[in-house]
Subunit: 405 residues, 2 copies
């Protein structure tokens, strides 16, 4: 018999955490399963025709450079476009403050790489984004958690955490993954003030900021931080590292995201990225620039908002109609997800199998809590299923839950 | 004044090494500089028309899945194609043995991540590939080096290194970067046998295997290793992890490479990759499959070979014509690079500036030696410059060297 490499060569396991969720999600792609489990955009809104035109322009007019090696920092026109867009939101940066990454996941990994020494403490919301947990586990992070309510992270509990000594604070202020909850303007301000007072940087992850379906825009944390600073130097030098992505406004298959940060942080991230993948695909960067640097983009984002708003509304209507007493959910004002809480005695991990048998899937909430808890919660995605399927899926899920109540 | 983040937040530096070379290469893109410094393919051989057709087919026929999230392992048809191609070289694998990575650089990073604990020893040729050094420095590796001659790594010196305890052996058997030298068949066999006897795995990096311009094909190390094994199990279970790339046969701007390994190693790499970038761009994978899974590919590779062979020949002719006595170079049978050795008293790092002033660039050899040495060496790339520029560039370089002799 051959021995497995794991035994033969002592492959490392301490710096790798498999996502139980991703293994589980494989089940949800079975035929006839209505899946609220993924985090997928609706493919119907992908601007396929625009990509076709863009591919033709890019390959015809600049094929040789679009297919060649590029710089680690990313395609300059794309970085400049991101800097210009940031100015619209009220923050003055240049392309020196922008790094293109291979999806937000890489941004999280690189931030882990430049910040986290084994044993360092990072503050995360509980529940928080699974991808961040997976990225930073590799660097031996210790999580400090902070609970949430309808206004997001409980900033009234922040100071006790800051006193513990934190490497950084990770926050998803808009329509958080997984809860769908938005951090209020007041709390953003508190967060910024206290982080500054304690000299702890903030990592602001904002994949869904442009996907607001109702209510007023709240400035990103990075803007509130910047506003507070006296401008002694004419460059961005705030306390916040901001990251966002093209995955939800263009297409996730491009694997394109970006980081906005002080230039010395960008330099460190660039050095780290060189060792990880040299640079992000030149071709997809050229494509994204061609598609996104166009007034049409505004209309496109409106289309996405309209599509997802309808789906969110249908899901909430279905929950109201079908769910038994004792089941609660958040009502997100944007984004892709909502969060369901069952009575305390129920465990969504146990219910998952019965749900898949009934041809409906969700993500159990437990794994989103890096320090445990949340066994009675689940995440539902509303962006990827058509309205009629959402109605039927929630009905199926409600029937399964009734069996367990 | 604002303090820089480096000081304020103690960003890590121990796991990041900036590539001095990449900084230096910025100089070489100045106008009129004939650069032999990069490692760039000739853009003239990029199959731009094929990419145009492929983009149209992919977006028209499968746009929704090509732009959506994909699996971490990679696009199944692409992995199956790679497995089929491997069979032609004499090794039976399935798509379970294939992982798609975001360029070879990511393959090296992920291998570092699953193998290297701080202080682990890895054997590399001296000089060796800079990207590997950069990737593995992040994991606190200790390098053990082995010198080369015209037949590649000096396997007669291997046993003394193996006795030191190695995590793995890294080898570029074909037209090595930076030297252009090829490991002989006899030495490949010795390497395989001794690594097996000592229970040390081999990482075989083969970006240029298909770019041989003369002489007979030598089986990859992974094939020689596989041949040796009694097939007790009908799955690939050898001692070699093999990696190659589409960068040199299609286009580097795609950032597409792959790893072939026992399935349990692939599983570990997949877990590591999940945390790093979730998956490689679905769109570029679909494109590469569309372009490469075609009999035309054979003709295309012949075109590349013909183009690069001519450039290599011109460079060697120019070296013979212009170089002063005491300057020696390798005569690679394939690949993109050759290696120049000057008299011992010369330092190519010192000469670099004078060369750029004379409008010609190379890469000083020092940094390719992880334990120092090689100050009198340089790497020259012959794939990226047109023949007439190669002639002129070598003439300029020879004039600079004459000034320093």
């Amino acid at each position: 018999m051959h021995t497995l490499w794991d035994e033969r060569y002592a492959l490392r396991t301490d710096n790798i955490s498999s996502s139980a969720i991703r293994e589980l999600l494989k089940l949800t792609s079975l035929p006839d399963v209505i899946s609220f489990a993924g985090g997928l955009p609706a493919p119907e809104v992908f601007p396929i025709e625009k990509f076709k035109e863009a591919a033709d322009v890019v390959l015809t007019e600049m094929g040789e450079s679009a297919l060649q090696y590029g710089t680690t920092e990313g395609y300059t026109p794309l970085r400049e476009m991101i800097a210009r867009n940031a100015a619209k939101y009220g923050i003055q940066i240049s392309s020196d403050n922008v790094l293109i990454t291979s999806g937000s996941q890489q941004a999280l990994d690189l931030l882990g790489r430049i910040f986290i020494n084994r044993g360092d403490r990072v503050l995360v919301e509980s529940p928080t984004y699974l991808g961040a947990i997976q990225a930073w586990n590799a660097y031996g992070v210790k999580y400090v958690t902070i609970p949430f309510d309808d206004d997001g992270m409980r900033t009234d509990l922040l100071e006790s955490r800051l006193r513990m000594g934190l490497k950084f604070i990770y926050v998803l202020p808009n329509f958080q993954n997984p809860t769908g909850v938005t951090l209020s303007r007041e709390r953003r301000k508190q967060l910024v003030d206290m982080a500054d007072a304690y000299g702890v940087p903030i990592v602001e992850d904002d994949p869904y900021g442009q996907l607001r379906y109702e209510g007023e825009h709240i400035p990103p944390v990075v803007v509130l931080d910047d506003e507070m600073r006296a401008k002694e130097v004419p460059v961005y030098s705030g306390n916040v590292i901001y990251t966002s992505t093209f995955s939800k406004i263009l297409a996730p298959g491009l694997r394109l995201a970006w980081v906005v940060a002080p230039s010395e942080v960008i330099k460190k991230l660039v050095q780290a990225k060189q060792g990880c993948d040299l640079h992000t695909s030149t071709f997809t960067q050229y494509l994204a620039y061609q598609v996104a640097n166009n007034p049409w983009m505004k209309t496109h984002i409106c289309t996405i908002r309209k599509t997802y708003k309808e789906r969110r509304d249908v899901m909430i209507k279905a929950l109201e109609k079908y769910m038994p007493e004792g089941v609660n959910w958040t009502e997100p004002k944007g984004g892709l997800f909502l969060w369901v809480t069952l009575p305390k005695n129920l465990n969504t991990g146990d219910i998952f199998e019965a749900a898949v048998a009934a041809r409906v899937a969700f993500v159990p909430g437990g794994p989103f809590h890096p320090q445990g808890g949340g066994e009675n919660t689940m995440r539902l995605n509303f962006s990827n299923s058509k309205p009629e399927l959402i109605m039927e899926g929630i009905k199926r899920l409600a029937d399964v839950l009734k069996d367990h109540l």
